[in-house]
């Protein structure tokens, strides 16, 4: 990582602060990578939250940790390991029969949990074989290395994102149908199972991408938080989708900027901003609901 030559100081002058932020290539790369990752994670996270597959998403993210550790052990690139691990896990989870009745849900989460535990154990084994516990590898795999991103990595992220988002655009409408109303979707000829599998694989790609930046444990900051916040704020699909991506980009930018001027890790700031957004949105919705109920109550009383 580049050592900061000048002491980073916050001047409270927005323009000069931003200029200072973008002075260093590592920060520029972090902003680029963060933006790419925020958009991809937001788009796939929106569907994941709608589909109630947060646990599957978490597992896909966690599995990228043994994937990356295994790849380093084998001497291939960690990026390959991230994607390999997440995609393999996506295929395994998709193979679990997901009946429409809902009774398979519990067994599904049990299987996902089992896969996740085993994957984590493998990750621990691989890092220990690599000697990584001592070298800080574990921290970087679990909590990310936002500020150590090379330009070539940014390009890889961009390529993967373009592929994943294009594929998502192709399946988006049937996927939405299959999520909201699987029975009718199946009767209308939507290949519900296939669409679900394709989605999990795309989600795996997104999780792998985000893991490289935020680490395996903080993926959720970008996968869940913006989508959950946006869905609190509006029930209009198109608007909440756009809002999700906007929020994701915003919290990444804010997190990076604040972390630059502080001594604490980026992941903490990004997650905290995401959490704050969610709390505000949930609070706003609860308050709005109360106001609406009260006004309806008064209307009913005055009508009576």
């Amino acid at each position: 990582m580049v050592t900061v030559a000048t002491n980073p100081g916050l001047s409270w002058n927005v323009i000069s602060d931003v200029r200072q932020l973008l002075l260093f290539p590592f920060m520029v790369n972090a902003f680029r990578a963060g933006t790419i990752v925020a958009i991809t994670a937001g788009a796939l996270g929106w569907f994941m939250v709608l589909r109630r597959q947060a646990f599957a998403g978490h597992t896909l993210a966690v599995v990228s940790f043994p994937g990356a550790a295994g790849a380093l052990l084998l001497g291939v690139s960690a990026t390959l390991g991230y994607f390999g691990g997440a995609i393999a896990a996506a295929v395994v989870i998709a193979a679990v029969p997901r009946s429409l009745g809902g009774r398979a849900r519990s067994s599904e989460s049990a299987i996902i949990g089992t896969v996740q535990a085993f994957a984590l154990a493998c990750g621990a084994l691989f890092t220990s074989l690599y000697g990584g516990f001592l070298s800080g590898l574990l921290t970087s795999l679990l909590f990310g290395s936002f500020l150590g991103i090379a330009p070539s990595q940014v390009l890889t992220l961009l390529a993967m994102s373009v592929v994943a988002l294009t594929a998502l655009a192709v399946i988006a409408r049937p996927l939405f149908f299959a999520t909201v109303d699987p029975d009718v979707a199946a009767a209308r000829g939507v290949p519900v199972r296939l669409v679900g599998t394709a989605f999990l694989i795309l989600l795996g790609c997104a999780a792998a991408e985000v893991s490289q930046i935020t680490g395996a444990l903080l993926v959720f900051a970008l996968l869940v938080m913006p989508a959950a916040t946006a869905q609190q704020l509006t029930a209009r699909p198109m608007i909440s989708f756009v809002l999700t991506i906007g929020l994701g980009v915003l919290i990444v930018w804010l997190g990076l900027a604040v972390a630059y001027f502080s001594i604490y890790p980026v992941g903490f700031y990004i997650t905290s901003f995401g959490f704050a957004c969610y709390v505000l949105a949930a609070g706003w919705r609860a308050a709005a609901g109360r106001v609406r109920r009260t006004s309806r109550g008064t209307a009913a009383v005055s009508a009576a």
């Binding site: 399946i171 409408r173 939405f176 149908f177 909201v180 109303d181 009718v184 009767a187 209308r188 198109m238």
Partner: protein, 287 residues
Amino acid sequence: MRATTTDVVRFDRAAVQIAGRTIWSDVSLSVSPGQFVAVLGPNGVGKSTLIKAVLGLIALSAGSVTVLGRPPGHSGREIGYLPQRRNFDSGLRVRGIDVVNLGSDGERWGVPLPWGERLLPSRRAAAARVREVIELVGATAYASRPIGQVSGGEQQRLLIAQALVRHPKLLVLDEPLDSLDLPSQASVAALISTICREHSVTVMLVAHDVNPILPYLDCVAYLAQGGAACGSPDEVITSQTLTALYRTPVEVLRASDGRLVVVGEPEAPARHTDRHADTAAQAGQQW
């Protein structure tokens, strides 16, 4: 009933086997255009299986079925289908109107152009049709609320609107009144009848209680393992017909308010949660 070539649905000595088990056999029934037909029978007799055969989701093991003059599964756009009641998760943040929208183009690949309604005439027409069916089912007031937060009867109306978006010739409903409260049952039954009469949509409805729909029916088909009895409600829902059909003494009583009570009808063991299971599970609980 006399079979004609214009029948909307026509089963001829049909049988279905699932996993080697005969669900029902020797079922013959025909539905004429514009009719309101109820498929009745005890739980677990394979009423939903009959619907799946109409939709082409299940193949017959014997006999034949034609739907709108074609083999089943080839009239997708002309059939509106309402599966057995789905409960939307109360946390689902999707509006009723979005669910209705999916009825018009949900299975198309790709993404709808954002704000395409203002740009494309076809999208404008589709949006107008969605508003029209929502108006038709009387759901305008709550169509913009998240679907998980409206009542069961309101959800059912929105789902009927979804099934109607494409101007279907045949509307197939699987237990649409199940688990609704009594006033909602009456109003949804009246709505379905209105759709049938005023918009000339043939309606085929599966029910286990005939009473809410009795005033509107043209024809009932009582389903049993060894066949079906079809005809007007007065002909079919009698002690003689049902006793002959089920080969066990069945008594039909008429209450003073005109409601029919069927006594002695062979009932599957009361496993209500299983009634909503998939067909394979249904096959395992035949009486």
